[in-house]
């Protein structure tokens, strides 16, 4: 006998399982219409590969997975795609999601398919691919893509494969009846997984309140390496983390995966789906769903096609809508209410619970928390729910996280025992959502902050640079003024140097512009000519071959020719216009030389002037420039030009004003002298 461990807390709510196991699994048949949500699993929604109006066969692929963590969808029966649109689905938020709607033709005609009895001949990747292609997602309720879970990463050693047959939630018997009736398939599916994972132990864990299921599994597993482990009934033993602790004594680290402690967990329903996929070649198109609660006349388990509207299934079970005010998908502890009976059954629908008001009365208003601590006693995660309740009320999120709010598995044991009727889980769920939202917001604002700071830094650096330049200019101007004042009527060597340099630069610019313009025009003529030649060649070839393209090519050649003409003309005009320019410039050897000569000419002209005249002339020039700049600045401001431009203009105006001030000073000094 394998040693069985315990886990902290847990409760023993009334099981209410007997009602739905009195009769064997019933076939729910084919409803007139099937609504298949594109997202029935954790991960990216599948992408439709069919269009409205397509006729599909049973088992035909209708949507393919998007990315690695996703699963495909298959037509549960043969029929016609009548819509691909948003429909209301079974979701705690009651929202709409894209669905493929199939109108059944009631022929239930299979697409050709085949499995392999001897999967041992296949390599692991092939088996995993079959599981993936069959669209299998965890059937226990979470709906995680099974193929992803079974693809063990390199370097990770899995020593225990656990098949979960616990089904600890009250009312639900889908796994129980599966174990009773299809134990052989469960064991066969388990062996396939065993081959994939190669663990040292393969366990099927079942609570001791399912003696029939246990007996069936034991006889099916005889002679195999699969071990059936029985353990005491307690809610929530079937929680993945709890089951791992029960069977191995190990705890999955907070925020980690079962693989971190060498364990992989799968549900018994998933095992059967794997058997169907690999051995029979059937995709996942139906599941076992328990329909129960006092508002149905005949509680029982159905084999139901995915996409079957809940209302269809409820009717089969003798649902009395007037008796029931809520409809729950899943069990009474962790299930959620659905917005309408028309939502479809999906891969994770293990139970449909229609309780009467007497069975589950509308919750009474919450009384004060008396800190009795019953919640802490039953918490399977060893949390302090009553403390977390205080913090949740006060929105003390940091304390909540310190009290490990995110280790709460939302099993509902705390709410169940709470004598004051406080909906504790609801508080935790809301707080988790708020904290996650805050984290996202923080991330966003953090990024915004980094961006903002970088921009501020950039602006500050630019401003600093500008300021330094301005200061340097000011200093230079002052020095100049002083120099001028000191030198009196003497020639100003600095000013002269500046003028020289400016003249040189100006000359260079004109020169290079002339040159490049000419070059450009020449180049344009050459390339256009070349293009024309190529195009003409092609045209000739096309004509020879009698191609359809002749017309198009002809147009191309004509256009190119026109372009060439234009280019030649432009070149000619330019040459004409500039032909006498070199003569006027007294044929300098190069542009720089010309600039120097020009500057020297200017200098000699200047030298002829008296210092006062010179200064006055300078001042006049500056004032003209200032006026121009001011006008430009005003214009830019009016037209709402970019800040950068306005700033530049402003600094120009400022600079000029400084210069004028300096020049005026100079003039005064000269006149005074």
């Amino acid at each position: 006998m394998r040693k069985v461990f315990g886990f902290h807390g847990g409760i023993h709510p009334p099981e209410n399982k007997h009602q739905s196991v009195r009769t064997p699994i019933a076939d729910a048949g084919i409803p007139p219409q099937l609504i298949i949500p594109l997202s029935q699993h954790i991960g990216a929604p599948a992408v439709p590969v069919v269009a409205v109006g397509d006729v599909v066969l049973k088992g035909q692929l209708i949507a393919e997975p998007e990315g690695f963590v996703s699963v495909p969808l298959h037509a549960p029966t043969s029929g016609t795609i009548v819509a691909i649109e948003e429909r209301q689905i079974a979701h705690p938020s009651g929202y709409q999601a894209p669905c493929i709607v199939i109108a059944s033709d009631f022929n239930d005609e299979w697409i050709p398919h085949s499995g392999t009895g001897d999967y041992r001949d296949l390599d692991k990747a092939q088996v995993i691919e079959r599981i993936r292609a069959a669209g299998i997602a965890g059937m226990g309720g979470a709906g995680f893509p099974t193929a992803v879970k079974l693809s063990v990463r390199e370097g990770v050693k899995i020593d225990t494969l656990i098949i979960n047959g616990t089904e600890c939630e009250p009312y639900i018997t889908a796994d129980d009846i599966l174990m009773r009736e299809r134990a052989t398939q469960i064991v066969a599916g388990t062996l396939i997984m065993q081959q994939l994972i190669e663990p040292s132990a393969t366990l099927i864990g079942v609570e001791d309140n399912k003696p029939e299921g246990l007996a069936a599994l034991r006889s099916a597993a005889e002679g195999t390496a699969v071990e059936i482990v029985e353990f005491p009934t307690k809610y929530p033993s079937g929680g993945e983390k709890q089951l791992i602790e029960i069977l191995t004594g190990k705890q999955v680290p907070s925020g980690g995966l079962p693989a971190d402690v060498g364990v992989i967990c799968q549900n018994v329903g998933t095992a059967v789906a794997i058997y169907d996929a690999v051995v029979l070649g059937r995709p996942l198109i139906s599941r076992i769903t328990t329909v129960t609660g006092e508002a149905v006349a005949q509680a029982q388990n159905f084999e139901v096609l995915l996409g079957t509207p809940m209302s269809y299934l409820l009717e089969l079970a003798g649902y009395q809508p007037q008796e029931s005010r809520r409809l729950i998908m899943g069990g009474p502890m962790m299930g959620f209410t659905v917005p309408s009976p028309d939502v479809p059954i999906v891969k994770t629908t293990n139970c449909l619970l229609a309780p009467t008001e007497k069975e589950f009365p509308t919750p009474a208003p919450a009384q004060a928390c008396i800190r009795c601590g019953m919640c802490a006693q039953v918490c399977p995660a060893s949390l302090l729910p009553q403390q977390m309740f205080w913090f949740a009320q006060g929105k003390e999120f940091e304390k909540l996280e310190n009290h490990n709010l995110f280790d709460c598995i939302e099993c509902g044991a705390c709410s169940w025992v709470c004598p004051s009727n406080i909906p504790l889980v609801q508080y935790y769920r809301a707080s988790k959502a708020e904290i996650l939202q805050l984290r996202r917001d923080n991330e966003k604002s953090e990024q915004a902050r980094i961006r903002f700071e970088a921009r501020q830094e950039r602006l500050a650096a630019a401003e600093e640079e500008k300021e330094a330049k301005r200061a340097a200019r000011k200093k230079a101007a002052e020095e100049r003024a002083q120099q001028a004042a000191a030198d009196g009527g003497e020639e100003d060597p600095i000013q002269a140097a500046i003028d020289r340099a400016k003249a040189k630069k100006a000359a260079q610019v004109t020169g290079s512009a002339d040159e490049s313009e000419l070059e450009k025009l020449e180049k344009a003529v050459v390339t256009t000519r070349k293009r024309l030649e190529t195009a003409s060649g092609k045209l000739a070839q096309a004509r020879d071959q009698g191609s359809d393209l002749v017309q198009a090519l002809q147009t191309g050649v004509d256009k190119t020719r026109a372009k060439l003409d234009a280019a030649e003309k432009a070149l000619h005009d330019y040459q004409q216009a500039n032909s006498d320019a070199p003569m006027a410039k007294a044929a300098p050897t190069d542009a720089a030389q010309a600039a120097i000569e020009k500057a020297m000419a200017a200098r000699s002209a200047e030298a002829a002037l008296s210092p006062a005249e010179k200064a006055r002339a300078q001042l006049g020039k500056l004032q003209q420039r200032l006026e121009k700049s001011r006008a430009k600045l005003a214009e830019s401001r009016d037209s709402g030009a970019e800040d950068k431009i306005i700033e530049a203009l402003e600094s120009t105006v400022e600079r000029l004003s400084e210069k004028i001030a300096a020049a005026e000073q100079e003039l005064q000094a000269t006149e005074g002298a």
Binding site: I11, G94, M334, T337, P339, P341, Q367, I370, G373, E410
Partner: protein
């Protein structure tokens, strides 16, 4: 009809706050019966009058706080406070003493702090200590037990309560008083000299303690509270008594058995220390909380000025409960010990 949308869990356990309170009330019955047997109807009259005052105070406070009367009165917490305080009061207490005590407990200790669940101090003990400090004479006048003195009848008990001036009841020192005041006799001689002593402790007291123990055991069986705090308190008290029991000299503090069956020991352990609102909540926290109360009870009984000490010890530890909770968070599933306890 639109379907109801509510979140899980949909099922709810059988327990409710009113049921918890009713269970506590029921569990006091054996103790009350024994007290009545040994000390007469005084306790019952206390409780009846105290309950009337308590409900009136509760209603007044709820009205002032604009809370729905019916909803909150139905939690029976006021009745529990009244019963616990009135059991602790000497039988044949005057009506005003009871009224002052109850009003302090309900108005001052509970509603001023925000009502049920928000009070940091045990209301019954706050009421008791206020009375003990304000009216020491009335609070230490305990009637002699059956067989030692004359027991007043029901009419006399009513008279004692409502026309205290006309009542002339005998009073006598309790065994805890006797032991404390003794400084010349061996415990054995003291035992023989004083008629109040019985088989293990005081006459009446020992049986009352056993009856409260029985009530507490029933509550434990009903899982109204866990064993941690009460057993830790009894263990703490017994350990201290054993450590300092010198075999019965005149300076002896009394044997462990004497302490366990004297005064308010069992009543305190199962009805006061277990008050969930004011105690520590984690398992380790409750062990520390209970043990510290037990140790304090012994110290105050033997070294303090007051003969009994449960009320003071409990109030002192009420102060410490949040602190204890802070340092005794249980290890969450999947965490290492010490993680997250910064």
């Amino acid at each position: 009809m639109a379907l109801m949308r509510i979140t899980s869990p949909h099922a709810h356990g059988p327990m409710s706050t009113s049921k918890v309170m009713l269970n506590v009330l029921l569990a006091t019955i054996p103790g009350i019966v024994v007290l009545t047997h040994f000390f007469g109807f005084g306790t019952i009259v206390n409780i009846l009058w105290g309950s009337v005052v308590a409900v009136a105070c509760e209603a007044l406070a709820l009205k002032l706080r604009r809370r729905p009367l019916g909803f909150y009165l139905k939690d029976y917490s006021a009745l529990v406070t009244a019963t616990l305080l009135c059991v602790a009061l000497p039988p044949y207490s005057p009506w005003w003493l009871i009224a002052v005590g109850i009003a302090s407990a309900i108005l001052l200790s509970k509603h001023l702090y925000g009502g049920l669940g928000y009070n940091p101090f045990n209301p019954a003990m706050v009421g008791y200590v206020i009375l003990l400090i304000s009216f020491p004479v009335q609070m230490t006048a305990w009637a002699p037990p059956r067989g030692v003195g004359e027991l007043p009848g029901l009419m006399q008990a009513l008279q004692a309560c409502f026309t205290p001036a006309a009542f002339d009841g005998a009073t006598m020192a309790t065994p805890l008083d006797l032991l404390k005041q003794n400084n010349s006799l061996l415990v054995k001689d003291l035992w023989q000299q004083s008629p109040q002593f019985g088989r293990w402790a005081g006459i009446g007291w020992e049986w009352a303690n056993l009856a409260f123990l029985a009530g507490g055991a029933w509550l434990l069986y009903r899982r109204i509270f866990t064993w941690h705090a009460p057993l830790a308190m009894l263990a703490g008290l017994a350990l201290m008594a054993a450590l300092f029991n010198d075999g019965g000299s005149s300076a002896s503090g009394g044997s462990p058995l004497f302490h366990l069956l004297s005064g308010a020991t069992m009543f305190g352990a199962f009805f006061i220390v277990t008050d969930p609102v004011t105690s520590a909540v984690s398992v380790r926290g409750r062990l520390i909380y209970g043990a510290m109360i037990g140790i304090l009870v012994y110290i105050i009984r033997v070294r303090g000025n007051y003969p009994d000490a449960v009320a003071f010890a409990v109030l002192i530890m009420n102060f410490a409960a949040p602190f204890i909770d802070y340092y005794t968070q249980p290890r969450t599933y999947g965490h290492q010990r010490g993680e997250g306890e910064e």
